[in-house]
Structures are given as structure tokens and as C-alpha cells.
């Protein structure tokens, strides 16, 4: 009961952030379920993926008439994404078999320790990326994507992009890398994907947010099937997470209307730093 109430609270808090910043919140849900509610890391990863599937599918449905989603990008990247999710989940399963290890004279569950370290590295990178970008640029105006400069045939055209001709090989392995993060950490990738679609693929900010929802929905769908297949999901946690999230997201969307782009980016970086401190706190508690 207490765990369900905790999940409801986490769902509501992350829902506010989803409404405010337009990300699925998987990067927060997985570590928070582990650190605050004591959910084992593999279960937190699978449950996080289920919550992301719910949130991203709802978001995609709400935006279906806006015409901003580039479905071709989502479909082309999906093959790599699928393989990446399976590889990430396989690595997670192998880590789970490591059992426990002795760190600083204390017995620690190896998979928890390793994933917390990986989370710390990913969260630090994201926080730095967003913070530097918010200082450098005001809004999120158009930029040439890095992938447009990589010449590796065969190519295909994405007509909605500023530089529409991109390598299929590069886009496919881009999907593989994102899928690996989803499979390993249970993050949908929205927090990594939106900046990646802007700076690597060369999308406009609003288009990136809409397209990331389609990609996140596809990759979390695969992740849910893969994790449910090995018993890494907990429906008793997902239901309160989704209920809390659907209430919180409305409140967050109202707050979002009152902030400008730069305020949003800086606040988001602070949220990521907050999550990083929680994860780092758990890491220190584990090893000291």
C-alpha cells in the first residue's frame, strides 16, 4: 500500500515535469523507484518502460493533428532501436547474473551499483549539455545537424528537415544507440532524443519534441515486451504511476505556458542535477 502511494507520488511529480518539459520522465522514474521505494533495479527498468509507453502513446494521440511528427525518421530508426533494446536488455540480464560484489568491505548487488554509475554518467552528460546550450542559445532555433556532414551511402531524403539527405546507415546505428539506453536503463530516450534530434539530425525544436514521442512510443513498446517476457515488470506499480502522471501532466502543462524557452531549459537542467544528486547519494550510501 505504502509502495503504491509512493508510486502515485512519483508518478504525479514526474507527470508535472512531463507537462512542463515534454519528456517522458523515464530517466527519473527508474532511479526514483529504486532509491525511494527500494524496487530492485531490473524491475524498476521494466516498470519505467511501461510507464513511458503509456505517457508517450497519450502524448502522440494528443498531437496527432499537429502535423509535426516526422514518421519517416521514426520508422527508419526503429530497426536499430529494436536491436538496441534487445542488446540493452541482454546486457541487463547478464549484469543481473553477476550477483553481489564486495565494495569497501560491504556486500553490494552488482547490477544496482553498475546501473547507478551508468545513470550518474548519463545524467551528468545531459545536465551539462542542456546547461551549456541554454547559455549559448536562447530558444532552440534551427541548426544544421551533425549527421548531414557524415557521408556514408546509401542515403534517403527526409523532406521535413533543413538538410533532408541523410545516411541510412548513420540513422540506423543512431537508433541502435538509443535503443541500447532504453533496454539497459529503462529510459525512453526523450531526454536524450530531443537534443539528439535537434543537434544530430537537424530538426526544429517543436518537430523534435513531436517526433521523439513517436520514437519513444515504439522503443518503449519493444522494451515492455522484452522486459515483460523476463518478468521485469510490476503492474501494481505501473497503475499508480500512470494515474499520478495523468494528473501531474495537466498541472505541468499549465506551468509550461507561463515560462519562456530559456527558463524551461535551465530549470530542466536543475531537475536533472536533482536526480543526479539522488542517484549519487544512493551510490555513496551503497559503498560507504
Amino acid at each position: 500500500m505504502l509502495v503504491a502511494l509512493g508510486a502515485l507520488g512519483i508518478g504525479a511529480a514526474v507527470g508535472v515535469l512531463t507537462g512542463l518539459f515534454g519528456v517522458g520522465g523515464g530517466f527519473l522514474i527508474t532511479p526514483l523507484l529504486n532509491v525511494l521505494l527500494g524496487v530492485p533495479m531490473p524491475i524498476a527498468v521494466g516498470t519505467g518502460a511501461m510507464q513511458i509507453l503509456g505517457v508517450s502513446a497519450a502524448g502522440l494521440y494528443r498531437r496527432r493533428h499537429e502535423g509535426l511528427t516526422d514518421y519517416k525518421v521514426a520508422v527508419v530508426v526503429f530497426g536499430g532501436n529494436y536491436v538496441g533494446v534487445r542488446l540493452g536488455a541482454a546486457v541487463l540480464a547478464s549484469l543481473g547474473e553477476l550477483g553481489s560484489m564486495i565494495v569497501n568491505g560491504r556486500e553490494v548487488v552488482a547490477v544496482d551499483l553498475i546501473l547507478l554509475v551508468v545513470f550518474s554518467v548519463v545524467l551528468t552528460g545531459i545536465a551539462l549539455w542542456i546547461w551549456i546550450d541554454a547559455r549559448r542559445r536562447g530558444g532552440g532555433e534551427e541548426c544544421e545537424g551533425l549527421f548531414a556532414r557524415i557521408h556514408c551511402p546509401p542515403y534517403t531524403e527526409f523532406p521535413t528537415l533543413t538538410h533532408p539527405r541523410l545516411s541510412i546507415v548513420v540513422m540506423s546505428y543512431f537508433g541502435l544507440a538509443l535503443g541500447f539506453l532504453t533496454g539497459l536503463l529503462g529510459i525512453g530516450g526523450g531526454v536524450v532524443l530531443v537534443p539528439a534530434l535537434i543537434y544530430l539530425v537537424g530538426m526544429r525544436a517543436h518537430q523534435a519534441a513531436a517526433t521523439s514521442l513517436a520514437l519513444v512510443a515504439l522503443s518503449s513498446f519493444v522494451a515492455v515486451i522484452v522486459h515483460a517476457g523476463v518478468g521485469n515488470t510490476d503492474l501494481g506499480l505501473v497503475v499508480p504511476l500512470l494515474i499520478g502522471g495523468s494528473v501531474g501532466v495537466q498541472f505541468g502543462a499549465t506551468l509550461c505556458d507561463r515560462c519562456n524557452g530559456q527558463q524551461l531549459k535551465r530549470s530542466f537542467a536543475l531537475v536533472v542535477v536533482g536526480a543526479l544528486l539522488i542517484v549519487a547519494g544512493k551510490l555513496v550510501a551503497l559503498v560507504t
Binding site: 520508422v75 530508426v77 530497426g79 534517403t156 541510412i168 546507415v169 546505428y173
Partner: protein, 53 residues
């Protein structure tokens, strides 16, 4: 060992294979939709009174 090789091959081949096939199918589908739209517009023009005049 063969399992590892299979996984590596899958990681290398499946993403690009899917990318090629899906990009080609997506382009075909969009071309078909464009043709259908043009065909419908052409039929609509013929049926309109202005086209009849």
C-alpha cells in the same frame, strides 16, 4: 561463441536492412498517396461546374 557472433551480426545487419527497406517502402507509400490525391483532385475538377463550363 556462435551466439555472440550471431548477436554481433544481428546488431550490424538488421538496423541497416530495416532502414533501407523501411525508407524505400515509406517513399513508395508517399508516392502512392500523392498520386491518389492528384487522381481524386482531377476527378473532382471534372465533376465541378467550372470544369464543365
Amino acid at each position: 561463441m556462435s551466439n555472440t557472433v550471431g548477436t554481433i551480426l544481428m546488431a550490424l545487419v538488421v538496423p541497416v536492412g530495416w532502414g533501407l527497406l523501411s525508407a524505400w517502402l515509406f517513399d513508395r507509400w508517399q508516392a502512392w498517396r500523392r498520386q491518389e490525391r492528384m487522381r481524386r483532385e482531377a476527378h473532382g475538377d471534372e465533376a465541378s461546374p467550372e470544369a464543365a463550363r
